[in-house]
Amino acid sequence: MTTDYETHIKSGRRIKSDAIHGILFTAPAITGFIALTLIPMIVSLFLSFTDYSGFNMPKFTGLANYQKMFSGEDLFFYKSLKATAYYTLLSVPASIIFSFAIALLLNSDIKFRAFFRTVFYIPTIVPAVATAVIWLWILNPDFGLVNTLLMKLGLPVSSWLFDEKSVIPTIVLIGLWGTGGTMVIFLAGLQDIPKHYYEAIDVDGGNSFHKLFNITIPLMTPTIFFNAIMAIIGSFQIFTQAYIMTNGGPNDASLFFVFYLYREAFQRSNMGYASALAWILFIIIVVFSAIILKTQNKWVYYEGEKA
C-alpha cells in the first residue's frame, strides 16, 4: 500500500533524508522494542534452559525443563494444553460465526442499525473482571438468574462453571457476549460490498443463499482471515476469566495454559520452567498462525487478483 505521501517521500523532493531526526523521533519506540521485547525474548529463551526461582542464580539444566514437559511427568502440562486447545477449538469458530451472523442481520435492510450495533458492542467495553463477576452470579447453579429462568420454563438446568464437562463451553458462551468488536469489523466490511454485485445475482435469478455463498462470504474472507488469526492468538492466551471465575477448576478442567504458566511462575517460583512453557506456547501460536497463513491462498479471496 503506497500512499500519495509515500511516493512523494520516495521521490525525495524537498524533504531530505535525515537519519538523526528519524532516530530521535522513534527513539522511545525503538528503546521500548529493545528493552521490552527483544531483550526479554532472549532472556526468556535462556531462562527456559535453567532452573530459576527468581531469587537464586539461574542454574543451567539444558533441556531438562522441556524433557519434564514431554516425558509425561508433568500431568498439568497436558491438562492445560488440552483445556486450551479445547477452548480454542470451540471459541474461535463460535465467535467468528456468531459475530458474522449478527453482522449479516445488521446489514439487512433495517432501521435502527446504529442502535442495535451499539447494543451488541456495549458488553465489549465492560472490564473483564466485571464481566467475570457478573456472569459468576448470573450462572450460579443454585440461585443464578439463568438456572432460575430455565427451571421456571421447565427446561433442564446446568451446573455451568461448576462442572468439569460444562465449564469450558460456559466460558466460550460468556466470551460470545464480548464479540462486539469483531461484529463491528464484519459489519463495516459488509457495508463496503458494492450493491451491483448483488443485483447481478438478482438478474440471474439467484436467491439469498446464492448471494451469501457466492458474493458475501468470498468477499469477506480477508476480514474473516484477519479476525480468525486475532481470535486464535487471543484464545491461546486466555487467563482472566479462569483466574476469577473458576480458579482453574473444577478438578483443573479450566486450567488454561497461561493460568498454569502464571501459577508456576508467580505462585511456585518456577521461573525457569515457566519460561519454557512460554516458549512452547509461542511455538504453538506461530505454528497455528503459519498454517492459517499457508492455507490462505486456498480460501482467502483478494479483490483484484486473477481468479
Binding site: 524533504i15 531526526h21 530521535l24 467495553i125 465492560v126 472490564p127
Partner: protein, 275 residues
C-alpha cells in the same frame, strides 16, 4: 410481502439477542440499588424497592474503592499521556521523515505486535523487580512512554500518511524544524486519531487485570480491577455489594463509550480492515 415478513423476523431476532446482551448489565445495576432480600426474589424484580445506596457505602467500607479509583486514574492518566506522546512521535518518524532503514525498523517493531505477551512476561517482571520497581506503578506506566505499543504506532502512522505532504514541504521551505512540523502541523490535524487512541488507552489501563495482579502486592496500591476481584473473593455471597462495586468499575467505561462511541467504532474498523 415476503420482504416484510423477512424483516419482521430479523427485528425479532435482533431484539431478542439485544435484550440478552443488555440484560447482564441491567441485572448488575438493579441489584446494586437493592437490599439483599430483594435481589433473590423470584420471579426477579427489576425496580429497586426500597431504592438504596447502602451497597455502595458498604462496598466502600469493606475496601477503599476511592483509593483504588485514584490509583487507577493515576496509572491511566500517565499511561495515556505517554502512549499518545511517544506513539505519535514514532509514527511521525516512521511516516513523515525520510531515513535509511526506516521501513525495516518499522516492520520489525510491528512484528512485535503479533508476539504473545507471555514470552516476554517473566524477564520483564524480573527486570522491574531487579530495578526495585516491584510493587510500584512504574512497570504499569513506563512501557507506555516507550512507544505506547506497536498497535498505536501503526494506527497513527496510517493516519499521518493521509495528511498531504505539501504541508510539511511548505513548512520546511519556511525554515520550520521537524519538531515544529510535528507539534504545529501534524498533531493539530490528528485530533480524531488522538481521541481514538486516548479512548483505547483509557480502556486498556482501566481494564488491565494481569499487570496490576503481578506487579502490585500492597493493597493500598491496588487498582479497581484488582479491588473488585479481591472483594468478590472475600465476600463470596454478598452479591448486592459485589454488584455495587462492579457498577463502580463499569460505569466510567460506559460514560466514556457514550461520549466517544463514534471514535471507538471508527477506530475498530480502521484497525480491523486496513491491516
Amino acid at each position: 410481502m415476503k420482504k416484510t415478513v423477512g424483516n419482521i423476523s430479523v427485528y425479532i431476532i435482533l431484539c431478542g439477542l439485544g435484550i440478552t446482551f443488555i440484560l447482564p448489565l441491567v441485572w448488575m445495576i438493579r441489584s446494586s440499588f437493592m437490599d439483599i432480600a430483594q435481589i433473590f426474589i423470584l420471579p426477579p424484580e427489576w425496580i429497586p424497592n426500597p431504592f438504596t445506596l447502602n451497597n455502595y457505602i458498604e462496598a466502600a467500607t469493606m475496601a477503599p474503592f476511592g483509593l483504588y479509583a485514584l490509583n487507577t486514574v493515576i496509572i491511566l492518566v500517565f499511561g495515556t499521556f505517554g502512549t499518545i506522546l511517544t506513539a505519535t512521535m514514532a509514527a511521525f518518524g516512521f511516516s513523515r521523515l525520510k531515513w535509511k532503514g526506516r521501513d525495516l525498523v518499522f516492520s520489525v517493531i510491528l512484528s512485535g505486535m503479533m508476539l504473545p505477551g507471555v514470552v516476554t512476561l517473566i524477564p520483564q517482571f524480573i527486570g522491574w523487580k531487579t530495578l526495585g520497581f516491584y510493587n510500584t506503578f512504574v512497570p504499569l506506566i513506563v512501557p507506555s512512554f516507550l512507544g505506547g505499543g506497536a498497535f498505536n504506532i501503526f494506527l497513527f502512522r496510517q493516519f499521518f500518511m493521509s495528511i498531504p505532504a505539501e504541508l510539511d514541504e511548505a513548512a520546511v521551505m519556511d525554515g520550520a524544524s521537524y519538531a515544529s512540523i510535528y507539534s504545529r502541523i501534524i498533531l493539530p490535524l490528528s485530533k480524531s486519531a488522538i481521541v481514538v487512541v486516548a479512548i483505547f488507552s483509557f480502556m486498556f489501563h482501566w481494564n488491565d487485570f494481569f499487570n496490576p495482579l503481578i506487579y502490585l502486592s500492597d493493597d493500598t496500591k491496588y487498582t479497581l480491577a484488582i479491588g473488585l476481584q479481591q472483594l468478590q473473593g472475600q465476600y463470596v455471597s454478598a452479591w448486592h455489594i459485589i454488584m455495587a462495586a462492579s457498577t463502580i468499575v463499569v460505569l466510567p467505561c460506559l460514560v466514556v463509550f457514550m461520549f466517544g462511541q463514534k471514535y471507538i467504532l471508527e477506530g475498530i474498523v480502521m484497525t480491523g480492515i486496513k491491516s
